[in-house]
């Protein structure tokens, strides 16, 4: 495509930065880390700018036969582009969040973060099955170290749990990958996405991949590592964990489970619905009674991820697009919320909700941003949360009204726990003198909050920017899974779900997001 090997460059830059950080002191290390992530952000922006929307499915392809058994093969479609964009966007913010808080072993800290960035971009851009696996698995090491070295009181327990849970989930996937490579005779992901595996085998393969992605996602009941890991991780670690790492599970479902095993996906869809419904209700209720701010947001992440999974397994365009937007939105919003917690944690060194109160008086700027992100988490129209959740729920409504009913309670409960959190922290009387004496946001914190706020509002007001690059890829995914679509109980059917011609119209660049949303919103009302 383009002359520059963008993707390899984006992988190499943080890696070089990581090595440099190891050798540098604290002051230099954070500068190097910031510089490396900014370079990647610029490269990411150039990547997005030169991405040909509506062009070839796989762009920026690179290929080198360096290894036996697998190949160095990179390339992205719109879905990967968006997630890479999210990664490079969040990374400088992570570094910024750690600017003053990381005092011990800063060089190693930033090196770990930069390695994480490389691996995450690698996961989203790998086009070889085993290259993907290596990138996917390798993230365990830096995350283990980040949680274990710079985490809070129970960091060791949390790091073990994180490492062993995710490792167990992934090794079975490796066996499944061997079988697939053997059966299809290739390790090329685009080829495998079009390969029809025997239905009987799909069943086992799907379960093996599910074991890995469900833990990474995380889906109830394998989510228990997440609250521990989040609470113990430093702010930067939490942002990257919630912002990008959790998206690997969803990306896995989109890239592997659905296109490679459509029949098995349809057969297991009820399982996904069941687990997701349980997740939405149970984790939302758990979030309601938390005293620890980070734990609360961690549980809310599980609930949001459940909306992603139901949307994915709705087998229609609305569900798939909605899930992607929820993932992107959650990446921004959860990252922002963890950042907001980090801001006051840096001042008071506690995450206990009761230690705060009335911050709106002494920290008005902070209260404003925190409110915006709270509203986005709830899914208020005009914020990114609304677009994604609405599309996802519309998608699943075409399949099952019961599932939709249960999942929608998540939004109500979400409003309950988020507003309750906001009220306790920001409103009310200033019962704690030390909390009342905290200064408002400084310039560094403004610099981190503003881009996040802009992105959240942009995605909420004009989601077309984010829907357009992936529209064609979602359409082809929908066509791929159409053969296996489970029969729903709802009366409504979307035009888009039926006619390929309509899909083509969309990809031709019709300004569609809002109209599509409105269109879809109108239909269920008519159906009733």
């Amino acid at each position: 495509m383009s002359g520059l090997p963008f993707l390899s460059l984006m992988l190499v830059v943080p890696l070089i930065g990581a090595v440099a950080c190891l050798a540098a002191g604290r002051e230099q290390a954070r500068m190097i880390a910031l510089a490396a992530t900014m370079v990647d952000l610029v490269l990411g922006a150039m990547l997005w700018a030169s991405y040909d929307v509506g062009g070839a499915q796989w762009q920026f392809q690179e290929h080198a036969s360096l290894f036996a058994g697998f190949e160095w093969k990179l390339g992205i479609d719109g879905i990967a582009l968006l997630l890479i964009g999210l990664t490079v966007f969040l990374m400088p913010i992570c570094i910024g969040a750690s600017w003053n808080t990381i005092e011990k072993r800063a060089g190693e800290y930033y090196a770990n973060f930069l390695v994480m960035e490389t691996l995450m971009i690698g996961v989203f851009s790998a086009q070889d099955l085993f290259l993907f696996y290596i990138m996917f698995e390798a993230g365990l090491i830096p995350m283990y170290l980040i949680i274990g070295i710079w985490g809070g009181a129970d960091r060791i327990y949390a790091s073990y749990k994180f490492f062993l849970y995710t490792l167990l989930g992934s090794v079975l996937m490796l066996i499944a990958m061997f079988w697939m490579a053997n059966e299809a005779g290739t390790t090329d992901i685009p080829t495998l996405m079009a390969y029809n595996f025997p239905v009987q085998a799909q069943w086992w393969l799907w379960l093996a991949f599910f074991a890995s992605f469900a833990v990474k996602m995380p889906m109830w009941p394998t989510h228990t590592w997440l609250p521990d890991a989040h609470v113990q991780a430093p702010t930067g670690g939490s942002i990257i964990l919630a912002g990008v790492l959790l998206k690997m599970g969803g990306y896995g479902f989109i890239r592997f489970s659905l296109p490679m095993f459509p029949e098995a996906s349809a057969q297991f869809a009820p399982l996904i619905y069941g687990l997701s419904m349980a997740a939405v209700v149970i984790t939302s209720l758990i979030a309601l009674v938390q005293h620890d701010m980070k734990k609360l947001i961690a549980y809310s992440s599980v609930a949001h991820m459940a909306i992603v999974t139901v949307g994915l397994f709705a087998f229609n365009r609305q569900g798939l697009e909605g899930s992607m937007i929820v993932m992107l939105s959650h990446g921004l919003v959860a990252g922002a919320l963890f950042l907001a917690v980090g801001v006051i944690y840096d001042r008071l060194h506690t995450r206990e909700i009761d230690r705060y109160g009335g911050l709106a008086i002494n920290m008005p700027g902070y209260a404003l941003f925190f409110m915006l992100f709270t509203m986005a988490s709830i899914g208020l129209p005009g914020t990114s949360g609304f677009v994604g959740e609405f599309l996802s729920l519309i998608g699943i409504y075409a399949v099952s009204s019961a599932v939709t009913l249960v999942c929608t309670t998540g939004i109500i409960l979400g409003a309950a726990y988020m507003l309750y959190l906001y009220r306790r922290v920001v409103f009310g009387v200033q019962k704690n003198a030390d909390a009342a004496a905290m200064p408002d946001l400084d310039a560094r914190e403004w610099a981190m909050m503003v881009p996040l706020a802009v992105a959240v509002l942009w995605m909420g007001i004009y989601p077309e920017t984010f829907l357009a690059p992936m529209r064609k890829d979602i359409a082809s995914l929908e066509a791929r899974v159409a053969q296996a679509r489970p029969k729903g109980d709802a009366q409504i059917r979307f035009a888009a779900a039926h006619s390929a011609g309509h899909a083509a119209d969309h990809s031709a660049g019709e300004p569609a997001a809002k109209p599509a949303g409105g269109h879809a919103a109108a239909e269920p009302e008519e159906a009733h």
């Binding site: 058994g69 073990y160 490792l167």
Partner: protein, 487 residues
């Protein structure tokens, strides 16, 4: 076949024996003060032998032309692969040993000689084409190894390790010999090809017994469960350079020998040994992983880790095909490098007085006091656990891929799930080094030779190692092809 041709084919062994005897004379005349010089000469001899075997590997030598001494000895690409690894292991031992023994003034000229003779025995093991060659090589190696384990005469633990190794090793040799005699009784021959021919078609109960005893004897030598009990004690008690040796060269030799016996002598009857190998593989993986959890001595931990790793390698053999054998050889090569790195680090762990530090707790906070050493150790641990992107993952990758291709899905699934148990104790070491408070025990200076060896092996273990996958796969495939097309 004339004498000169046979001598040509057995060149490395001839060189090793003659130079071993010559150095023995040097040692006898000039005493212990020449030990460093003899060590250097021995490394030179090993390098020479490595150069002699390399062409056979490069050309993928196989078939009847590689036989010598009337079909008792075989110098094919497979033997060359094994010998290269053995010579590397022996040379590393000789390089790391002087710095270790000189501290306690116990370096003696016998050390390099014993290692040299052990290497000779191991060379014969991997080249065996006859049960008697097998036994000769095995015993030459074992007798040298018993003495090496007890090399620190004044150290109780070392003497105990030597005695334990000797008693249990002799028992295993007895079992092996009993198996060989049974096999001979039921087939009428000791040659591998003869046994293969005699066992084609029907396999009698007696011959099956013989095979089981032979495999049990060999399982002891590779420390596969359920014959692994000696390993932790011997690894812990033996002087660390000797443990480095045990973990690398003899393991390679015994595993290659096991492959030889299984594929060449019993190749016509894979079902007779496949189940035994699968059983031993799974048991080794699980026992190696569970046994390591409670260990607080780093050498004992590495001993259990070696049991665990042998289990993974046996999965390659369990496939009973060329692909599996090649995978096993790749794993073996990577395992040798990982073991070298691990034990060199153990050698570098010294307290202020220069005494060896073996307790895992003493590594506390190593990442703050000795960051590079801790980084190398962490890389070795993650590599042994098989976590990508470290190179140890590649060994597991090829072995499990071969197992899946051979339709051993259940074995692969159980094996890889059990590897997660193993990961627990590997990350425990990382936890001690990175998360715990500084114990500040490891303060002693490091020898330069150790540092250089560690640097070299760490580069291979690092993700850069993946660049070696193509050449490594190439030579492993040649070696495996030679093994399977020996006739």
């Amino acid at each position: 076949m004339d004498l000169s041709q046979s001598l040509m084919i057995t060149g490395p062994e001839v060189v090793l024996s003659l130079s071993g005897l010559a150095l023995l004379m040097v040692a006898a005349w000039s005493g212990d003060k020449a030990s460093r010089m003899i060590s250097i000469a021995a490394v030179g001899v090993l390098t020479l032998c490595a150069l002699m075997v390399a062409p056979a590997l490069g050309s993928g030598a196989m078939g009847p032309g590689t036989l010598a001494w009337f079909g008792q000895y075989r110098a094919d690409a497979f033997a060359a692969f094994g010998k290269l690894l053995i010579y590397i292991g022996a040379a590393v031992t000789l390089i790391v040993a002087p710095a270790f023994f000189e501290r306690s003034r116990s370096m003696r000229a016998e050390f390099p000689l014993l290692v040299l003779f052990a290497a000779l025995g191991m060379g014969m093991m991997v080249s065996a084409a006859d049960m008697l060659t097998l036994y000769l090589g095995l015993e030459l190696n074992s007798l040298s190894a018993y003495v090496l384990a007890a090399f620190l005469r004044n150290d109780e633990r070392s003497a105990e390790a030597g005695l334990k190794y000797f008693v249990l090793g002799s028992l295993a040799s007895g079992i092996l010999l009993y198996g060989i005699s049974l096999t001979y009784g039921f087939t009428g021959t000791t040659s591998f090809m003869g046994i293969r021919a005699a066992l084609s078609g029907h396999m009698s109960l007696g011959a099956t017994f013989g095979v089981v005893f032979v495999l049990a004897g060999l399982a002891f030598k590779i420390s596969a469960a359920p014959f692994h009990m000696w390993t932790p004690d011997v690894y812990e008690g033996a002087p660390t350079p000797v443990t480095t040796f045990f973990a690398t060269a003899p393991k390679v030799a015994a595993l290659c020998l096991l492959m030889r016996v299984a594929v060449e002598a019993l190749g016509g009857q894979p079902q007779a040994w496949q189940q035994i190998v699968i059983f031993a593989a799974l048991l080794s993986i699980v026992i190696g992983a569970l046994g390591a959890i409670g260990q607080d001595n780093i050498k004992r931990l590495l001993a259990y880790s070696s049991i665990n790793n042998v289990g993974f390698m046996l999965i390659g053999l369990a496939c009973a095909n060329e692909n599996g054998a090649a995978a096993m050889l790749v794993y073996l090569a990577i395992y040798v490098v990982m073991s070298v790195a691990a034990f060199v680090i153990v050698l570098m762990l010294r307290d202020e007085q220069g005494e060896a530090v073996e307790s895992i707790a003493a590594l506390g906070g190593l990442s703050k006091t000795r960051p590079m050493l801790a980084l190398a150790m962490a890389a070795v641990m993650f590599s042994l656990a098989g976590v990508p992107p470290l190179f140890g993952f590649w060994g597991k990758f090829v072995v499990f891929q071969a197992a899946v291709q051979a339709d051993l899905l259940v074995l692969a699934a159980i094996g890889i799930a059990a590897s997660v148990i193993g990961a627990f104790y590997y990350i425990k070491v990382v936890k001690v080094m990175y998360f715990d408070d500084v114990a500040d025990v490891v303060k002693g200076p490091s020898d330069r030779a150790h540092g250089l060896l560690l640097l070299g092996s760490s580069v291979v273990i690092s993700p850069l190692g993946y660049l070696l996958t193509i050449p490594l796969a190439g030579i492993a495939a040649k070696a495996a092809a030679a093994l399977f097309h020996s006739a």
